[in-house]
Symmetry: C2
Subunit: 222 residues, 2 copies
Amino acid sequence: MRKAVCLLSGGMDSTTLAYVARDMGYAICGLHMSYGQLTEIKERECARIIAEKLGAVELMEITLEHLLRFGKSSLTDRSLSVGDHDGNGKGIPNTYVPFRNANLLSIATSYAESSGAEAIFIGVQASDYAGYPDCRPEFVEAFQQVIDTGTADNTHIRLMSPFVHLNKTDIIRRGLALGVPYEDTWSCYRSNAPACGRCDSCHYRLQAFREAGVPDPIEYGD
Amino acid sequence: MRKAVCLLSGGMDSTTLAYVARDMGYAICGLHMSYGQLTEIKERECARIIAEKLGAVELMEITLEHLLRFGKSSLTDRSLSVGDHDGNGKGIPNTYVPFRNANLLSIATSYAESSGAEAIFIGVQASDYAGYPDCRPEFVEAFQQVIDTGTADNTHIRLMSPFVHLNKTDIIRRGLALGVPYEDTWSCYRSNAPACGRCDSCHYRLQAFREAGVPDPIEYGD
């Protein structure tokens, strides 16, 4: 059975994507990273439950110290705060973790090359790259070139980001059809539980559930 | 003063390159990674001495767990052994750590973007990419694209690999002119001291010193 490394953050996008990868016939090698983000405990708990429910071959949990040490993001730097969604969303939000996704994809590629996986699935999607440079389609394409040139000539790893042009509502619709347990996913940037309901990530999640016409099964604070 | 992140492995190539970067007028932000390689203790010790002698602004020491956990390289996987240089050098040596340099460059880019550094110096050179895919010029060029697309639009980081077409003899000649203390560098793949003198890395180092017409100041075993 062909293997795929699936980045499993514990969030709704990567979870849905892992279900898509399974539906495509891949055996799932889950990869979860803790990097000092505010909600790392909850995210890891969700990733574990999802890996179990999915029947992943394994869940590789990696702890990174460097993004926390470099700081400069409100997710990792305790001197900054995560703001409420303000609807003006211009520029890069302070939740941007400098070049995080290249770090995650490099780890995923090392894992894939070491374990013989043929693909890497990353759940970047359209509303992300309104703000985050390392979610842009051009970034993902450039990273494929890095994989092709930086791994052995007989290694062939395809970087799969089928959600890159979808919005979160499309993703939920896709996930509901695949039976994704959204009650076991986490999106809030701020809190390990209940979700704050006000940060950008909660805002876009709640909006997507509303648009999809289904209730969001997780608990929100006031 | 413009800042540059210099990957400082403790080896002779990256050390020489850091001296070149300083000579170009950069303030040096040293970045050293321990990833479970056999000689990590000695390499870190060398990187610290070099950073001190160079007058680096800081030395960021990062420990990575994942390359060790993924294994599949004789540098990180205790079930494999580092062979002697055999002169037939075909294909990828088992000292290749899958996609290691992309991991190092991702960390370097996060560090550079977080700290406002304008450049990243990596000491890859011609005899490396005879064997290692993640030392090829095409890889370095592709990574520049990843940096350009995956960081903020007002971030400009130049990936500098001026040794990419030089051999180790050229590098030593350059370093001697800059006063590089080669007695404080380490190349052996196998041993924390004395150097084995027989692995690929010792072989190419010794050959380069012979060709440069100067003695290698470090100690070798029998």
